[in-house]
Symmetry: C2
Subunit: 378 residues, 2 copies
């Protein structure tokens, strides 16, 4: 749920091929995943005015999204919840996708909650609560605003100041056995237990006082968390009347060199984070990005590029080019053999990436002036 | 730590012969326990003006009590912490022993903290937080005052309102492995994990802002908790400067029929709880209590009673007869063959037990008037 899946990779079991919320899962066949994990295939037609992520297939799966679609249609209350892990002052580029979804649900009536996981940052990274709060206020929250979150429709809370979450965590922990926990998380290390149930407390928190469905926009690596919190909500339904949380799952973005899932441990040249203050460095990174270029110029002019292998296109599709027409033009010129990869990068990926980061930097400065509008709840 | 060890017996493994904080451990040989569990043998000479529990060997073991003795001697700060589980409106008679120790440390300079485990009562017993708070205020806290706790030297907190405890619990959970946890608690059920680390958070909480040694007066069944929180404190010492918590361990009291460890599941006639409003029922229960009577009157007059088997004497020693001279007289008349068991009960156990409960009832009514002095901390 918290948008720094790469933060905890030291806990990952590299051999584990199931979806591991703490690790590098091998997620290549999304259709298989949907089937095996009992997810719902995402259909952008479910929602009014689907956003870019929805239209472009970045959102590929979900759970019980019809409840959210219905709440939107009938203008009934629902919530959207996401989390900030203030363990550093960088965020994963994939967070941009999550924020776009938060914004989408905000625009369609969601009561939005953003938790700041300062307790977890302290416990797992040694970041003091004060420092965690400072990082959230000075970096993460303005970054979310800069990426599109509407601060006026958002409620924030610090895990360190929200006791209800711990109470729900204690209740939830009665409802999952040791073996169920191990089956999903791989081990029953006490820190995993504390962290997982706290996150379940977070996800159910908005429903504790106001019964309503809720949607959690997450990366696919968080699907096991969602599955477990849904089990907990089901088992607590009779006593607490929880709705099973809905989820919308986004795809991973690979690293610029094409290696699986961009993360903090990706090669420096192969990853883009937020922020990237050195705009020239972005150009260099994209120039080195893996593409779908053919063996020779002649072959590429004749057959076109293999766009499904191209990381420059992937990043433009997922983040940098918001205009569908421009993206289609980039696509068609590639597969039509009009541009060689260097030409394409110079025309599309590099300028749009630079613009994305320049816009971010400018929006970030403006966003800092909105911090007075922050509303904390407990 | 929380003084209703019998509350959670449904989680006990009846086959488990180690000390099980949730179960019925077979604790018969305290000397062996002291050795096997690396406890310190309790020496009442360590402390100035030892109380009744200390003098009479009810307190039989401890951990690092020399730190507490030194703090008392040098008038340096230390704390004493105990907990209330508001899952019912009865407490175990053994709680009286704990409260006497709390009072002793209060009188000798301890900053005293009493936590109200409302979160755990809600999670494990379905008692709402509101109801848990009500029970604590209307029954448990006045009962503790009636049993001797000095409300003017005590700080209270509700687990549901104390976020620092959850924060320490999250930090502590990083420091214990799955196997270590299992070795001590028998399983790694998520609810055990949440509960155990919350209790560790409670025990370390007073030190989080004010570094000082602390003593936890507990029944011997809580020794594993203490052992683990000491491991956690040791591992967090470099980062947080915690003192290893000290502990003072009290013996179990058997049921009136002599069966192991009086608890909620003891036969109704064989247990005494607090309160016992029906004073006549107390007489009936004690009349049925196991004694060390001989086969015949003649043998008893000649050899005296086997006082080490007598539950009436045990209860008088542990709770009802505060005057050492009277207790000695009861003892000497028994072993000297002066009284048959019925005569002894009529002379000592019954009137002193009735007086104990009558005093409690009167003190309880007075104590309720002191509730305005309660200080809650967070």
């Amino acid at each position: 749920m918290k948008e720094e899946p790469n933060e905890s990779e030291n806990m990952a079991d590299e051999q584990n091929v199931t979806i591991d919320p703490w690790g590098k899962a091998l997620v290549e066949d999304y259709a298989r995943l949907i089937k095996e994990f009992g997810m719902q295939e995402f259909d952008p037609k479910m929602f009014p005015e689907p956003n870019l992520q929805m239209r472009r297939g970045i959102d590929f799966g979900g759970q019980d999204l019809e409840h959210i679609a219905r709440a939107i249609k009938e203008k009934r209350p629902f919530y959207c919840l996401s989390g900030i892990m203030p363990s550093s002052e960088k965020i994963h580029l994939g967070t941009e996708t999550v924020v776009q979804n938060i914004r989408y649900f905000q625009d369609h009536g969601a009561k939005t909650y953003i938790l700041i996981a300062d307790v977890e940052s302290q416990a797992t990274r040694g970041v003091s609560l004060e420092e965690g709060k400072r990082r959230a206020l000075e970096f993460h929250i303005p970054a979310y605003i800069a990426l599109g979150m509407d601060i006026e429709k958002t409620y924030f809370y610090l895990q360190s100041e929200n006791k209800t979450v711990s109470n729900i965590a204690a209740i939830a922990s009665q409802k999952i056995t040791e073996n169920e926990f191990r089956a999903i998380y791989g081990s029953v290390h006490p820190s995993k237990v504390m962290s997982a149930f706290t996150q379940m407390g977070d996800i159910l928190y908005p429903q504790y006082t106001e019964k309503m469905p809720g949607v959690i926009p997450v990366g696919i690596d968080q699907a096991p968390h969602i599955r477990m919190v849904r089990d907990v909500a089901r088992r607590l339904k009779a006593d607490y009347g929880f709705f099973l949380p809905s989820a919308i799952y986004g795809k991973y973005t690979n690293a610029l060199d094409g290696s699986f899932k961009m993360s903090k441990s990706s090669a420096e040249n192969a990853k883009l984070e937020i922020p990237e203050k050195d705009i020239d460095a972005i150009e260099k990174k994209i120039n080195k990005a893996l593409t779908g270029g053919r063996a020779t110029k002649e072959e590429q002019r004749a057959k076109g590029g293999e766009i499904e292998k191209c990381m420059a296109y992937e990043y433009c599709k997922n983040h940098f080019i918001k205009d569908d027409k421009v993206l289609k033009q980039m696509h068609d010129e590639c597969v039509g053999g009009k541009n060689l990869c260097g030409e394409c990068k110079a025309k599309y990926a590099i300028p749009y990436a630079k613009q994305f980061y320049e816009d971010f930097n400018a929006n970030f400065e403006k966003a800092k002036k909105q911090l007075g509008k922050i509303r904390f709840v407990q």
